[in-house]
């Protein structure tokens, strides 16, 4: 069975590295984009099954990415927003814009992350707001 591909859209290199390491260790194919704009560009080539999407990023942030993301072109791609912004509004907004979950990065252990990614991929749901 082909392993799932995860696109990490994240501007902090230390987090890019550690999440690549964690996901790679469980056999996921990992690609990295520096920001939302680069994420949109890389979508075609990478065709990810899942996107780990940061919120605060330069050039194009997570919210703008979701607004520009064409769900009809990638109906099977799931998105998990993860951020170190813990305010309710941000989390709510990301979910409203189409992320399946919005989690607080700092609260997640590597196990938590792997569990979440596994669960989301398993549920098999399409993009949340665009059936």
């Amino acid at each position: 069975m082909k392993t799932a591909t995860v696109l990490i859209i994240e501007d902090e290199q230390i987090l890019q590295d550690v999440y690549s390491l964690i996901l790679g260790s469980k056999g996921y194919t990992v690609a990295v984009a520096e920001n939302g704009a680069e994420g949109l560009t890389k979508m075609r080539a990478v065709k990810p099954d899942l996107i780990l999407l940061d919120v605060l990023m330069p050039v194009m942030d997570g919210k703008e990415f979701l607004k520009n993301f064409d769900a009809s072109e990638f109906p099977y791609t799931k998105i998990i927003a993860y951020t170190n912004l813990s305010d309710r509004q941000t989390q709510q907004e990301m979910v409203e814009l189409g992320a399946m979950e919005c989690v607080l990065k700092s609260s997640m252990t590597p196990e938590d992350l792997l569990n979440l990614v596994g669960q989301v991929l398993e549920t098999g749901h399409k993009h949340k707001n665009r059936p």
Partner: protein, 853 residues
């Protein structure tokens, strides 16, 4: 004739003519000398009359575009400036008849020649002409001036025509340009001024300054009686001011140019033995012969009328300023009369009589120089067909000029009176108001027999016009005075308390509203004054303000409370304003007091409220902005702090999980401490951020109907594992049928988790914790009761403040940021609820939460 190329070179030229009158005449002088005149109607050069030669010399020396049209057929002779203007056409023009040379303008020139040779001066303003200066025709706006040139016999023999670029254009262009061109334009304007209107031009030459050429306006200006042509200047104008003679000599023999604007020149202008002053614009340019000054060309323009008109306007302005400044009617009329008396050299005496209201007689108005006994005698004379000059003028509505009182039938009844006061002539003119009614008469008396000149009539016209203004102004003031009578009527119907006082402040009038308000009779009011009714706290300052106003004469505005008949003090706003007479003296005060109590209760209060609200709003907006900035800062900095801690957490967790190989027990212990320490840091960041969020005005509650019992059960369940660790038990037995709350579930959860956590943390192991819910009329009360260390009284309040951690025997074992109770208090406040604590050290604490229903 050889074709000559015209140049734009001005007067100075290399060409030296052998012919006297052409010397120094530039390119045109040469062309005139070389022209085959023998074939021309004017005949050979040598045969020309001196006056023609002088005229030519004059135009050749002029910087203006000038053409001479000689004789009925207008043979054209012109100067360099004109040649440049004519451009290509120039080659055929010299010596030609103007109708042939400029056929397109033949009719025009025929008319000009006819009029000017008959002695007239003709001016055309803003004529559109074609200039042939360049290859293409160029449309130009020109002013044209044609005046006659006289021969020895004083008859016009030629027309001198000057072409000027239209003044408006020049001025407009010069404004755009530099100061220098503006100056040039001003000079041009001066030239233009006298060229446009009939200006006088004369040339005098030689050591005795003999008149060589005089145009008609010049002759007229100096008086028809003087013989000028061919005469020496000092013989012809022997009464000339020595200073002017000196100037003329300097121009004529030292080559200085002289220019004066509105120069007063006093001469016997009319040759009737009387000296008069005329104001002249004056330009004298040296007349060059053999490059040496030997005489002058004088341009003169009579500005007398303009100067006089302007002076009149100035006089009138002064009179109007007097009126505006509050001068009395009589003072202003006297001033006007004195002005006209001083300007006359004939010793005139002015008088103004005013029409009575019924229009049948004339009353004294002004006569500052006439004898008082005379003024008394004519005061009240009838308006009629034979009542001296004034009564008759008012009757006829026309000026009456009596130049000899002794013989005039109009004065039959007053002849002796006039004789007794040595008055010989009297001219009277009606003063008309703006609607043509006769306001009065203005008369000029003379002590000798006198006939009016045009100038006198002009002065009279000015005085009557100005007097009309003064009289009408005064009538308007009378109307004002009448309106004061209407004031009482108004005063008695207006809903405000009105008083008047004399200049010293003594009350002269109270309107009936005062009696109504105070309940006192008018008699009592007049005796006791307003002070009696003032609030004791206001009385002194009000009276001081009133006294100060009386002293300085400035209007007063004040506020004070006045006692109403029912014993209520009501706030009033008071105004007082002085009324002045024509001399500006205060004659009375007018005051009003308005009851504003009701208004203050409603409108003013509303306004004040609005002002206060606006102030608060602004203040609030500033605070909000500040707060938002702060929140933003905390949110973002927390985010930044979390990122490295997150990376640390991930890596240590991977290492601890054996991802990078097995660990020794020491490595495991150390890394576990590192991990926990990192977790604590993240908790602190979380707490700070939570605080910032709760403090933020953007913090919103997601309210829903919920059961307090459910909320409390969930919180207790969540705490169960940690409680169990300390062997603590929570007892919770809520009553049934409690109403639902409208509240934010997760926030209430946070509240009770915190309270339960504290109850647990600050209690001994195995102690009991009780949660009690009580329904109050408008609220639910939830008590969380522990058997813990309790709180010292002095800390009671502080525990709800940020970062407060109280030292007690258990605090060392407890971790925390000291923010929990702060959140609790804030969240409850956001719900409209509250929290209080009752505590006994060592016995326990009871936190009581109240949530509104």
């Amino acid at each position: 004739m050889p074709k000559m190329k015209s140049t734009t070179k001005p007067m100075a030229s290399q060409f030296k003519s052998r012919v006297g009158f052409l010397m120094g005449g530039g390119d045109m002088a040469r062309r005139i000398e070389q022209f085959p005149w023998s074939d021309n109607r004017l005949g050979p050069l040598q045969s020309w009359q001196p006056y023609l030669k002088h005229a030519i010399s004059f135009i050749l020396n002029s910087p203006l575009r000038t053409v001479l049209l000689v004789g009925d057929d207008g043979i054209m002779i012109y100067n360099d400036a004109y040649a440049a203007f004519a451009g290509e056409r120039d080659t055929d023009l010299l010596g030609s008849q103007v109708a042939d040379g400029l056929p397109e303008a033949a009719d025009f020139h025929r008319q000009v020649l006819k009029a000017v040779l008959a002695g007239k001066t003709v001016t055309y303003v803003d004529q559109q002409l074609k200039s042939y200066r360049r290859a293409t025709d160029q449309e130009m706006w020109m002013d044209l001036n044609y005046s006659p040139v006289l021969d020895d016999g004083g008859m016009p023999f030629a027309v001198v025509g000057v072409v000027l670029e239209a003044t408006n254009r020049i001025v407009a262009e010069s404004r755009r340009s530099t100061t220098e061109t503006a100056l040039q334009a001003e000079r041009q304007r001066l030239h233009d001024l006298f060229m446009r209107a009939p200006g006088g031009i004369a040339i005098v030459t030689g050591p005795d300054l003999r008149f060589q050429l005089v145009n008609k306006p010049f002759q007229q200006l100096l008086g028809a009686g003087r013989n000028l042509a061919g005469q020496a200047l000092l013989d012809a104008v022997s009464d000339l001011d020595p200073k002017l003679i000196e100037m003329i000599r300097r121009v004529s023999f030292q080559g200085e140019r002289f220019e004066a604007h509105e120069l007063p020149v006093t001469l016997d202008w009319d040759s009737d033995g009387s000296l008069k002053t005329k104001y002249l614009d004056f330009i004298c340019e040296p007349y060059m012969e053999n490059n040496q000054p030997n005489g002058l060309i004088a341009y003169i323009y009579d500005m007398t009328q303009q100067v006089k008109s302007r002076k009149e306007v100035e006089d009138q302005n002064r009179v109007l300023e007097m009126l505006a400044g509050g001068s009395s009617f009589e003072t202003t009329l006297d001033f006007l009369i004195r002005t006209i008396e001083m300007q006359s050299s004939d010793g005139i005496l002015g008088s103004i009589l005013l029409m009575s209201d019924d229009g049948t007689s004339l009353q004294h108005g002004s006569g500052p120089s006439l004898p008082a006994s005379y003024l008394r005698a004519i005061d009240g004379i009838a308006v009629g067909p034979k009542v001296g000059s004034c009564g008759t003028a008012a009757y006829r509505k026309q000026p009456v000029f009596v130049s000899d009182i002794a013989s005039d039938p109009l004065w039959t009844d007053f002849r002796e009176l006039a004789a007794a006061h040595s008055l010989k002539a009297c001219w009277s003119t009606p003063i008309f108001g703006s609607d043509k009614q006769v306001l009065g008469t203005f008369a000029l008396y003379y002590r000798d027999v006198h006939r009016p000149t045009a100038e006198d009539k002009h002065s009279i016209e000015f005085v009557t016009r100005t007097a009309a203004l003064i009289i009408e102004h005064s009538k308007a003031e009378d109307l004002l005075r009448q309106s004061e009578e209407r004031f009482r009527f108004m005063a008695e119907t207006l809903p405000l308390k009105i008083f008047t006082a004399d200049a010293g402040g003594k009350i002269t009038y109270f309107n009936p509203q005062w009696s109504e308000f105070t309940g006192k009779s008018m008699k009592v009011l007049m005796r006791d004054g307003v002070r009696m009714f003032m609030h004791p706290e206001d009385a002194q300052s009000s009276m001081q303000t009133w006294m100060a106003a009386l002293k300085t004469g400035t209007p007063l505005q004040n506020e004070q409370r006045l006692l109403r008949h029912d014993g209520q003090y009501r706030r009033h706003v008071s105004f007082a304003r002085p009324m002045r007479d024509n001399n500006g003296r205060i004659i009375s005060w007018f005051g009003s007091m308005t009851d504003i109590e009701d208004v203050l209760q409603t409108v003013v209060q509303k306004e004040k409220l609005e002002i206060m609200t606006a102030g608060l709003k602004e203040q609030r907006a500033q605070l909000v902005a500040l707060n938002n900035a702060k929140d933003e800062f905390i949110t973002l900095s927390s985010h930044q702090l979390r990122t490295p801690a997150t990376a640390v957490k991930q890596y240590i967790h991977l290492v601890l999980g054996g991802h990078f190989g097995a660990l020794t027990p020491a490595q495991l212990r150390s890394l576990t401490i590192a991990y926990e320490s990192n977790e604590r840091q993240l908790n602190i960041i979380n707490d700070l951020l939570k605080t910032a969020q709760i403090d933020s005005n953007r913090y919103t509650l997601k309210k829903q109907n919920l059961s307090i019992v459910e909320v409390l059960r969930d919180a207790i369940a969540e705490m169960q594992s940690s409680l169990r660790l300390k062997g603590q038990v929570v007892s919770f037995d809520p009553p049934r049928g409690l109403p639902k709350l409208l509240a934010d579930r997760s926030d209430l959860n946070l509240v009770f988790i915190n309270l339960l956590e504290n109850a647990s943390k600050y209690s001994y192991p195995n102690s009991a914790i009780e949660v009690i819910v009580t329904k109050k009329p408008k609220a639910l009360e939830i008590a969380i009761i522990d058997e813990g260390v309790g709180i010292e009284k002095q800390h009671g309040r502080r525990i709800f403040e940020k970062f407060t951690r109280i030292d007690n025997e258990l605090s060392d074992t407890v971790s925390g940021t000291g923010l929990g109770l702060y959140w609790v208090k804030r969240i409850l406040a956001l719900h409209g609820g509250s929290i209080k604590v009752i505590s006994e050290p060592k016995l326990g604490s009871r936190f009581i939460v109240s949530l509104p229903l």
